[in-house]
């Protein structure tokens, strides 16, 4: 039995026993290689669930909208390890109760989905520990290295060109499980810190502030990067922030549900070599 069949069966059991009220998974998309999020509320409809190597989106963002979990009932969701880390962060930031999330875990290896047995986020602690510090794909790493080697002025020009493409559609924000603010800072207009217009300056400010707000929180699911309709390599910038959190503070985002957010805590002996 393939993993898809196994999880359809498990989803049907969870729904018919009343253990969960909803299963969030992937379904057929417009084309053969596209998967779309689907919401299954009854055991009869589990055949809509599809699980294969195209199921790459981090579905944890669908758990955050107000009201979904407020009835205390459970929801099952297809998650890869990055999604489990998102659940941990959301729990650590008091956005959800991880006890309400039943994880149908999987990972993609060699173009095939492979099962991960944990059903609770806490079951994933050893796996997440082993992933600590895993980096970018070789191509993205090469691009990141190329950027690091540039001088500041050249790097500025690189991002200026990238951000000049931004249309402020906020797909990066909307798709991100970490962007759950009811009113995003860019929508705050009294005072207006960030230019809302999507000229290059406004785009620069927006993308910098979003990256800062994700520092030590991004799990590198790549959702922003994939969603960006104008192909800005957002993953590079978020990865740079994750690296800073790990290298300087030993913080790997989403290790557990009681991990303190990296910028909401401190150690008295935090490094401060740059402070005059």
């Amino acid at each position: 039995m393939g993993l898809q069949e196994q999880y359809r069966k498990e989803a049907a059991e969870l729904l018919s026993s009343g253990e969960v009220k909803l299963v969030i998974g992937y379904g057929e998309g417009t084309t053969a290689d596209r998967r779309r999020p689907v919401f299954v509320r009854s055991a009869e409809l589990v055949s809509r669930l599809v699980l294969d190597a195209s199921g790459v989106a981090n579905l944890s963002a669908y758990l955050v909208p107000e009201g979904l979990l407020s009835d205390g009932k459970k929801v099952a969701v297809f998650l890869k390890p990055d999604g489990v880390r998102s659940i941990n962060i959301l729990a650590a930031e008091a956005q959800l109760d991880p006890g309400q999330v039943v994880i149908l875990g999987f990972d993609i290896e060699g173009g095939q989905p492979t099962p991960l047995p944990g059903r609770k986020a806490s079951d994933y602690a050893p796996l997440i520990e082993s992933l600590k510090g895993s980096g970018l794909s070789p191509e993205l790493q090469a691009e990141a290295d190329r950027l690091e080697q540039m001088g500041a002025a050249e790097r500025f020009e690189y991002w200026k060109e990238q951000f000049s493409k931004c249309i402020k559609c906020y797909a990066c924000r909307q798709v991100c499980p970490m962007c759950y603010c009811r009113r995003c800072i860019v929508d705050v207009n009294q005072p207006q810190w960030i230019n809302t217009s999507s000229h290059t300056l406004g785009n620069f400010e927006w993308n910098i502030i979003r990256a800062f707000h994700l520092a030590g929180r991004c799990v590198a699911c790549g959702g922003c990067d994939r969603s960006c309709p104008v192909n800005i390599p957002l993953r590079l910038i978020n990865h740079r922030m994750a690296k800073e959190a790990l290298d300087t503070f030993g913080h790997y985002a989403g290790e557990s549900a009681d991990q303190k957010p990296v910028l909401a805590t401190f150690r008295q002996d935090d490094p401060e070599t740059f402070i005059l």
Binding site: G29, T30, T31, R34, R35, R36, P37, V38, F39, A57, A61, Y62, E161, Q162, K165, I167, K168, C169, Y170, A171, R173, Q174, V175, D187, Q192, N195, T196, S197, S198, H199, G202, G223, R226, S227, P229, V230, N231, P233
Partner: protein, 337 residues
């Protein structure tokens, strides 16, 4: 006999248009994005694609447009209007759906008040469309009554030749004819066969859809929630749409000076209809998605007699969660009678 433009003479044409005072825009791939930008040489163009990721709307209705500069002093308020320059432009290699989009938006920008920012650019631009040689799974022009070689919105239309040597040239407006004058010597008269246009099967029954949308009960249909469940509420479908035209006026600056700007806005955003009181009449994503569909295929049609969709399919092609107009209209079209 018909007029032919050979690929090999395109550079000469671009040169002639530039000498005649035009700036030439074409789809180019820069920094991993294909969009219309100014070009000098034919080699810069990306013409062998289904369509650029961004539309030519961007060059008529700017994503952020300064309107007035203001300074406020104790005694008075000074304003300075920022008017778009009248620059002659040729848009080369436009897709028929994008060109149609301009045509669809014309009545809106000229309805009760003639929007100079739009029309100054429209009046000074010549649209040179290339009929599609290929389509993908997302293309749906045929479903909204258009075609891969529709001439709507085109001043000049080029039909690819079967042998790939160039294009058959067909002017559709006086502006298109005038654009041929400086390049007359570069075209040749010969009988040539054009490549077949791709066949794009209709994806839904537009008449059924519009009839359903027009019926008052449809407004509260459970369908809206069903189809928009996975919508994340970003604005990519609206901003990549060749016909979406909503905007927001923002004053950018401080108490004493600044610029009033016209920025793209999107009905997908919760902020779009948020009242100062905090009340939001469209407070769920399904009501916002309903608005988008109703506006395009019911309200706009009622006011201007045309659907506000040219079938480019970008809304689905670029959607982070694989949603889009096509799916919703298919669902409506498939509803039991």
């Amino acid at each position: 006999m018909t007029r032919i433009l050979l690929n090999s003479r395109l550079d000469e044409c671009l040169g002639a248009w530039r000498s005649a005072g035009f700036s030439v825009f074409a789809p180019v791939k820069r920094a991993e994005l294909t969009r219309f930008d100014e070009v000098q040489k034919a080699a810069e163009m990306s013409l062998d694609i289904v369509m650029p990721e961004r539309t030519i709307k961007d060059h008529f209705f700017l994503q952020t447009e300064p309107l007035i500069k203001y300074t406020i002093t104790k005694q008075q308020i000074d304003t300075e209007e920022m008017v778009p320059p009248e620059r002659k432009r040729v848009f080369f290699g436009v897709r028929p759906c994008d060109a149609s989009g301009l045509d669809i938006d014309d009545p809106l920008f000229g309805w009760d008040y003639k929007d100079d920012y739009w029309f100054k650019r429209r009046d000074n631009s010549v649209i040179v469309t290339i009929a599609c040689a290929k389509a993908d799974d997302f293309c749906m022009c045929t479903s909204v009554g258009l075609a891969p070689d529709t001439a709507k919105g085109s001043d000049l239309m080029l039909h690819p030749l079967k042998d790939g040597r160039g294009w058959l040239v067909v002017p559709h407006t006086d502006r298109g004819k005038a654009l041929l004058e400086p390049v007359a010597g570069m075209l040749q008269e010969e009988a040539a066969e054009t490549a077949p246009v791709p066949s794009i099967p209709a994806k839904f029954d537009l008449e059924r859809v519009t009839a359903w949308l027009a019926s008052p009960e449809s407004f509260e249909s459970p369908l809206w929630r069903e189809v928009s469940q996975r919508c994340i509420g970003c604005g990519s479908c609206t901003f990549l749409c060749p016909t979406c035209h909503c905007f927001d006026i923002q004053d950018e600056g401080d108490t004493y000076s600044g610029i009033r700007r016209k920025n793209w806005d999107s009905c997908s955003f919760a902020m779009f209809t948020m009242h100062t009181s905090g009340h939001n009449p469209r407070n769920t994503q399904s009501t916002r998605w309903r608005q988008r569909i109703m506006h395009k295929f019911n309200y706009y049609r009622g006011k201007f007699g045309v659907n506000s969709c040219s079938g480019c399919g970008r809304c689905t092609r670029q959607c982070p969660v694989d949603m889009g107009i096509t799916e919703t209209l298919q669902e409506i079209s498939n509803l039991p009678k």
